[in-house]
């Protein structure tokens, strides 16, 4: 058994600390609940540091079930940083509503452990187990805090859809294993190339695995859970569900498609294309009719997933990685602002709840404006640059008509994003209220928001990192 403590330190540290926090939290009285929060934050910081320390190394460990390479380092670090921001944004929200803070943090930490395992998966088995460890805490989080019936419905839909996706994935994995006799991702291309003709059984296995991945991303036609979960759950939970798991899902997608079938893209390209086109169409057009801001952002997520899949279709995984990181950054800020705004008994649900935000809290309105423009792809934001990279990848792949299609869809998207801006700036507030943001949250949220523009103006560094991954 090849084992290296150094290579697996992020996972081992995260797992150990989560267990420590879990037990410690039981012995804390309510007055010291903040200790749980601080420890969770410290854990994430150290896990990120340990992950970055592995940048120059390439490990294949634990009998090939664990892989640590540059892709793993970048995605894991992003997950931990996103987790750190989420934990900061939601603390006051949870405390104000007397929601069980420790369960939220502990389940989120376990979910991030699952993401980390998924990102570092070296075999189909760890891919599956990582995905389960990622999803199980999410189901519990969505169902745990029941405010109204929509939360139960959302949890139920999420759970049933997730279980179905897991079943499909497992079926696909077993077909691939049955067809090749291999379970390790690095051994599969060899086994596939040995076959003289494309193996139908293998192809069917790939179809099912891609469906499973599509479910996790929420790509059309496997998107049904996204709008309901986004609308039905509390904002802090949507904040978590919408950001970090997408990064991990991208890790899974690129491990599976790039490592295994990089040599034979014709096996999966057509499914990816169908999902990309449908996601762009449905996500952007259905978003126009929404009045609930969380549901709107849910549909916009589906649209963004369409772009990520377009990048994958063009065979440009670096562009996909850039897009998913940009998406995570923007969504983090957008839902972060919604969480911060939901205070003193007010939940931000409808777009009209944002009316007159400009007069209530100027800086928050400016931040929301910046984030929305970035989501819409206004230059020179990160959202613009990410779309630009994907579209130019399509042109390079000689599918310019898809680039035009993507462009049209972005234009439609700009319309419903601008409606939110209009409500914020030109509508009169329905009630006067005072918004107070804790100092730390304000600073982090501001950095987060400004990053969506700074990284758009100077995208070179992040793009260079993404190019190093493949």
């Amino acid at each position: 058994m090849d084992f290296s403590l150094k290579a697996m330190l992020p996972e081992i540290f995260l797992a150990t600390m989560t267990c420590v926090i879990l037990v410690l939290d039981l012995y804390l009285s309510d007055r010291f609940r903040r200790v749980t929060y601080l420890l969770s934050q410290v854990t994430l910081v150290f896990a990120a540091v340990f992950a970055i320390a592995l940048w120059d190394n390439h490990f294949v460990l634990m009998g090939g079930h664990f892989v640590s390479d540059k892709l793993a380092v970048v995605l894991k670090t992003s997950v931990f940083i996103v987790g750190f921001c989420i934990f900061t944004y939601v603390y006051d929200y949870l405390r104000e509503r007397d929601i069980r803070i420790s369960e939220y943090y502990i389940l989120a930490l376990f979910s991030m452990l699952g993401m980390s395992i998924l990102i570092s998966a070296g075999s189909l088995l760890t891919l599956y187990l990582g995905l389960e460890l990622l999803s199980l805490p999410l189901y519990a989080m969505v169902a745990m805090i029941q405010r109204q019936n929509t939360a139960s419905e959302a949890a139920m839909k999420y759970f049933v859809m997730g279980a179905l996706a897991s079943g499909m994935l497992l079926f696909g994995i077993s077909l691939i294993y049955g067809s090749t006799g291999q379970i390790h991702l690095d051994a599969l291309p060899v086994a596939i190339n040995m076959a003289e003709q494309p193996d139908m059984l293998l192809l069917l296995g790939v179809v099912f695995v891609v469906i499973g991945i599509g479910f996790k991303f929420g790509a059309v036609p496997f998107h049904m859970w996204i709008p309901d979960v986004y609308q039905g759950s509390l904002s802090p939970i949507v904040l978590f569900v919408a950001t970090a798991p997408k990064i991990a899902a991208f890790g899974m997608l690129s491990r599976f498609l790039w490592d295994m079938f990089g040599a034979a893209p014709e096996t999966w390209q057509s499914f990816i294309l169908i999902m990309a086109v449908l996601s762009l169409l449905l996500g952007n057009i259905a978003a126009i009719a929404q009045t609930n801001i969380k549901r709107l952002l849910g549909y916009s997520t589906i649209g963004h997933v369409g772009f990520i899949f377009l990048a994958i279709y063009a065979g440009n995984f670096a562009a996909g990685a850039f897009y998913v990181l940009a998406y995570a950054l923007m969504t983090l800020a957008a839902f972060g602002i919604l969480v911060v705004l939901s205070q003193r008994g007010i939940e931000i649900e409808d777009i009209t709840d944002l009316a007159g935000l400009d007069k209530q809290h100027r800086w928050l309105a400016v931040m929301m404006l910046l984030v929305i423009f970035s989501l819409a792809g206004v230059p020179p934001s990160i959202g613009f640059y990410a779309k630009f990279v994907v579209l130019s990848a399509l042109v390079d792949a000689h599918v310019a008509y898809l680039a035009v299609f993507g462009l049209v869809m972005s234009a439609i998207a700009a319309f419903y994003y601008l409606r939110v801006v209009k409500v914020m700036y030109f509508d009169e507030p329905t009630q006067t209220r005072e918004i107070t943001i804790p100092h730390g949250t304000n600073v982090l949220l501001s950095i987060n928001t400004l990053a969506t523009w700074v990284l758009g103006i100077l995208p070179g560094g992040l793009m260079a990192i993404c190019l190093l991954l493949y």
Binding site: M1, C19, L22, V23, L26, Y27
Partner: protein, 118 residues
């Protein structure tokens, strides 16, 4: 290897025959003259008040799911018990970590009071 299981198959077959035969025989041989009064549910001379199924407390569910988790843990212990002498310390260490994880879960359950009943 499979021939070792022949007695079990015979056992299952005999068990099925003994279970099914009386029902079938009863159906075939017994007189069967149903009427409305015979088929109506009877409860001390009244119409039935409610369904026979009563609602359970959610705590039964919690106990059942906790039971399943520890049941699965035992499923992992069987193969380990067979081979740990062969594999030596690494296997003992591995199972130690596994059991430690579940002990953490057990402490959590205990302290939360999920095992208490009234």
């Amino acid at each position: 290897m499979l021939e070792n299981y022949l007695p079990i198959v015979v056992f299952i077959a005999v068990g099925m025959v003994i279970g099914v035969a009386p029902i079938v025989l009863g159906k075939l041989l017994g007189p069967n003259k149903p009427n409305t009064a015979k088929l109506s549910p009877y409860e001390c001379g009244f119409e039935a008040f409610e369904d026979a199924r009563a609602q359970f407390d959610v705590r039964f569910y919690l106990v059942a799911i906790l039971f399943i988790i520890f049941d699965l843990e035992i499923a992992f212990l069987f193969p380990w018990a067979v081979v740990f002498q062969q594999l030596g310390w690494p296997a003992i260490f591995a199972m130690g970590v596994f059991l430690l994880l579940l002990t953490v879960g057990f402490i959590y359950e205990w302290k939360k009071g999920a095992l208490e009943w009234e």
